[in-house]
């Protein structure tokens, strides 16, 4: 039998049992709708993550000491603490593609105010840091170049730190104890939430890097240099310029390896994207439970149909239908129900995803892919759950089937 005949036979047999076919298809509507909602919402969330990363500055480059060899293992990391303020100044002066460069020095420190204690990361940096990260202050004022030059004991608190130490008072102007030293709080940062890599970006203290170098770490080098390129399409240029400048400054023989690493934010963004993909997969997995339930409904209906139509199967066999003709007929029926449910389900699911996305303010992209996915899911459900009833039908004995009342 050709496909057209097959589809016509299936469509008619479904039309003869309208209510039942409708109810069976309804299960698929729900199943496919929930899968499409979840997957599309997951994709929207992913788009949102990349948008956030771009907002944080895809222009960002991070220079760290030590080289990364092929496998990603850092070579000679331990000893070579070779980045200095002069490197930063060289980048500022000699890299036209670099807009801003900021040295950073980090330490994990205990904090205290009155009888409250907390511990957080203190990030030593220059005033450009806020600009590079596009962070702004919720209250107070940032520290300036003068504070860096004089290594003043001033700091900016992240929201989480401020809430811990100053649960019911204004932190600005107060003095907190960091290690044994007294720092004056100049301002409180705006809440930023988790970073793409899952860190709480509000659990942080910013201070002049000179202060962290001398008063806290007791070092003269810096941990890393944060650079922002003048434009997203200048990132690679900036990377090359930084490499040239640092190689020159570090007096590296040409052809030898770098003794530092330059990484772009987009490399980190990729990781975040991967995490979002896994989330999409997970959500889709949960939603496919309802598709499974819909599929079981189809199987049930098909088994009932096969039993009811035993005599019809017998007649078809008597006039020459082979096992595979019968099998294809019932499989086509199952797939047809699934598509009848799957297509409106996909539309409904997309509307649902659009609703979710708009309520979270995520960007929604209508992808032909997700409709193709729904179509594929429906067909696969039809085949998967229809195959057993169809096989049962094809295995009927013609004599028994003809005698069936």
């Amino acid at each position: 039998m050709d496909t057209l005949v097959l589809v016509r036979v299936a469509a008619r047999s479904l039309a003869q049992r309208k209510l039942r076919s409708f109810l069976a298809a309804l299960g698929l509507v729900v199943g496919v709708a929930s899968v499409v909602t979840m997957v599309s919402a997951g994709q929207a969330a992913k788009a949102q993550v990349s948008r956030q990363i771009e907002g944080l500055g895809t222009n960002l480059l991070l220079v760290t000491p030590g080289a990364v060899v092929g496998s990603g293992v850092r070579s000679g990391a331990g000893g070579k603490l070779n980045l200095s303020l002069t490197d930063v100044e060289a980048i500022r002066g000699d890299c036209p593609s670099a807009a801003v460069a900021c040295p950073t020095v980090r330490a994990s420190v205990p904090l205290a105010y009155a009888n409250r204690n907390w511990s957080a990361m203190i990030q030593g940096c220059s005033p450009e840091y806020l600009q590079i990260r596009s962070w702004s202050l919720a209250s107070g004022a940032p520290f300036g170049a003068e504070a860096v030059r004089s290594a003043s004991k001033v700091c900016l608190l992240g929201q989480a730190v401020a809430e811990r130490l100053f649960p019911d008072e204004d932190a600005v102007g107060k003095s907190v104890r960091i290690r044994k030293l007294i720092f004056r709080v100049l301002g409180v940062l705006e809440e930023k939430g988790q970073s793409a890599s899952g860190q709480d970006q509000d659990d942080i203290v910013l201070a002049p890097f000179t202060t962290v170098q001398r008063a806290i770490r007791g070092v003269t080098y810096i941990d890393s240099i944060l650079v922002s390129a003048v434009a997203p399409d200048r990132i690679e240029a900036a990377r090359e310029e930084i490499q040239a400048v640092l190689r020159r400054r570090h007096k590296l023989a040409s052809g030898g390896p770098d003794d530092f690493t330059v990484r772009s934010q987009s490399e980190l963004g990729e990781m975040a994207n991967q995490a979002a993909s896994i989330m999409t997969l997970l959500l889709g997995g949960i939603a496919s439970v309802s598709l499974l339930v819909g599929g079981i409904g189809i199987m049930n209906i098909m088994l009932v149909t096969v039993t009811e139509r035993t005599r019809e199967i017998g007649v078809r066999m008597a006039v020459g239908a082979r096992g595979r003709d019968i099998m294809l007929q019932f499989l086509a029926e199952a797939v047809t129900i699934c598509l009848l449910g799957g297509l409106p389900g996909a539309a409904l699911g997309w509307l649902g995803a659009a609703g979710v996305a708009s309520s979270f303010g995520w960007p929604m992209v209508l992808e032909a892919k997700s409709f193709a996915l729904a179509l594929g899911f429906s067909t696969a459900t039809g085949v998967f759950f229809g195959i057993y009833p169809a096989w049962r039908a094809s295995r009927l004995d013609p004599v028994e089937a003809l005698r069936y009342e």
Partner: protein, 253 residues
């Protein structure tokens, strides 16, 4: 009854046992029978004598436990399901007691069914089916569904379906069992008409009233052929003409 022709059906030592748990039911205990082209055979016998079992074997719906079966010269006794389906499709037409038309399907589409599985193209399918419906006197009823047809008309559709593939053999198991006497006569008239044009027919019945239209009567008893004799057939047409006309005639119009 040209004995010189190659037989359509030749069965030798046909045995069919059914296993019901521990018990073996011997439905056929060794049947030998030969059917020649153009014969109109009535298989008779008491209920349980093995008539239907024999029909199922000859119709290639079932396989014998033992014995040989040559259909149109081809040994089909050992064939598997799909091969048997192909043979049924090409060589055998069935007429059942309960008509067995597909419900909510037009007469035309019911008749087309064997051609559909035979892989005949749509226009050829149409042409041949219409022709067969006309041959059984149902021109104009092509698009009626079974529920819109009387019992006699439904059986005519079934006969058209049995003929549409030009089979070597038409098997009819109690074809008049669900019909009143007048309609039964009309169906027998139609079968006799087909037989007179060369169609070989094997008919199962337990009614002597029906078997008298056949040209040979084979009597089954307890799974064996007890009697096999030529018979001078009565003309169903003549009997019909002799009947008083009926107001409620379902083949009129």
């Amino acid at each position: 009854m040209s004995g010189a022709d190659r037989p359509i059906v030749r069965v030798e030592g046909l045995v069919r046992n059914y296993q019901l748990g521990e018990v073996t039911v011997h439905a056929l205990r060794g049947v030998d029978l030969t059917v020649y082209p153009g014969e109109f055979i009535a298989i008779m016998g008491a209920s349980g004598s093995g008539k239907s079992t024999f029909m199922n074997l000859v119709g290639c719906l079932d396989r014998p436990t033992r014995g040989r079966y040559l259909l149109d010269g081809e040994d089909v006794s050992g064939l598997e399901g799909d091969r048997l389906a192909a043979i049924r499709n090409r060589k055998i037409g069935f007429v059942f007691q309960g008509f067995n038309l597909l419900p909510r399907t037009t007469a035309l589409e019911n008749v087309e069914l064997p051609l559909l599985y035979g892989g005949v193209g749509a226009s050829e399918r149409h042409r041949r089916s219409l022709e067969c419906l006309r041959a059984v006197g149902l021109a104009g009823r092509e698009h009626h569904q079974p529920t819109q047809l009387s019992g006699g008309q439904q059986q005519r559709v079934a006969i058209a379906r049995a003929l549409v593939n030009n089979p070597a053999l038409v098997m009819a198991d109690e074809p008049t069992g669900n019909l009143d006497s007048r309609t039964s006569l009309e169906v027998m008239d139609l079968l006799q008409d087909l037989n007179s044009r060369g169609m070989t027919i094997v008919l199962v019945t337990h009614e002597p009233d029906i078997s008298r239209f056949a040209s040979r009567i084979v009597r089954f008893r307890d799974g064996r052929v007890a009697e096999d004799a030529a018979h001078d057939p009565l003309s169903a047409h003549q009997v019909l003409l002799a009947m008083p006309p009926e107001s409620d005639d379902d083949t009129a119009t």
